[in-house]
Symmetry: C2
Subunit: 207 residues, 2 copies
């Protein structure tokens, strides 16, 4: 009884294998997949539901991306600026690095362009080893690489991993679990509370 949703646009029910506009269709699939993975996680989002949201045949998704794991990886790989954004905050005055990283990380969870990717990674990573590896890649390994291609440095990886673990816990409490005492704080207050610990992890300063 409802009229067709104009936002679904011309890609809806596009025939399998059509060549024109492949990259637009691919992007539509990747956006729909990212949003459904963000809402339901890798296990909870079916290829059929993603196809439906993107307005394509499920066979086209298999044609472009193979299995769901590959599709999941494609929604994140080369499509997210998150590691670069975090790495950029590591550059600059070491005395305020904890504050910069904490503030940027919380903003990434709040911005419409990056929030679905983080939600999708977290909601998938707790039950999928594949997604867990990707979350670690985005929050630790690629941050380290972006920061500067020095030789492998276990101490630096450990610093970044501990800072990332803490920030991940705060983000999960605030944006996923929606724990009332954490949701009640404004972002600035959380930055005030959390950044001394992040500062300590990243710079090795001791209390």
């Amino acid at each position: 009884m409802t009229p067709p949703d104009p936002e679904l646009g011309p890609a809806r029910k596009r025939p399998t294998g059509r060549r024109t506009g492949d990259s637009g269709t691919r992007d539509a699939i990747l956006d729909a997949a990212r949003d459904l993975f963000a809402e339901r996680g890798l296990d909870g989002a079916s290829v059929r539901a993603i196809a439906n949201a993107a307005g394509v045949d499920p066979a086209l998704i298999r044609h472009f991306f193979g299995d769901k794991g590959t599709l999941f990886a494609a929604t994140v790989a080369n499509r997210t600026t998150i590691p670069q954004r975090i790495a950029e905050t590591l550059v600059g005055d070491p005395a305020t690095v904890g504050r910069r990283v904490t503030d940027t990380y919380l903003r990434l969870w709040e911005e419409p362009a990056t929030r679905p990717t983080l939600l999708s990674l977290v909601r998938s990573a707790v039950t999928s080893e594949h997604a867990a590896d990707m979350l670690i890649d985005v929050m630790v390994s690629r941050v380290r690489t972006q920061e500067g291609a020095e030789a492998v440095d276990d101490i630096r990886m450990r610093q970044i991993a501990l800072a990332a673990s803490h920030l991940l816990g705060v983000a999960i409490a605030r944006y996923v679990l929606k724990a009332a005492p954490v949701v009640a704080l404004d972002r600035e207050t959380i930055v005030d509370e959390v950044s001394p610990a992040i500062q300590r992890y990243l710079t090795g300063a001791r209390d």
Copy 2:
């Protein structure tokens, strides 16, 4: 071709509605449910799979527990000592409370009696609001209640919630995502690294 597993015991395929040994059967169902929720999360574990693991008819699970959400709640409610264990570590010398809480929290993730409950809460809470509320209850609200039934105290709830958020992030990185730089550390080293931040959240000390 394999002989019956003696560990499955007399509860296996017990007829629906049998009265004798109800509490043993209930416990068998709750243990099986907890272990499957721990492995797959609330969404990923079906009532049928739980019934199969417990050696009972799925109808018996519905008879005892109603829907899957109620069963999930029953696997945690009144069955876990986690809030009490954490609250006990809050008592004592305030100068070392951060270290005590951090050490106890990591041990709870490693002990066979408590680890499945924490895994089950975390793997379920990211996609289920119901499970998220239970995780917050176990890690924050019930800790606060166990600590002492004072009037509601927003500052104390905030202190516990920030400490819990940080510890949750470290536990997820180490025990769920299995992030290599965090897995590589022994528990004592993590306690050394993390407890200053927990100390600060719980006591309000400023760097």
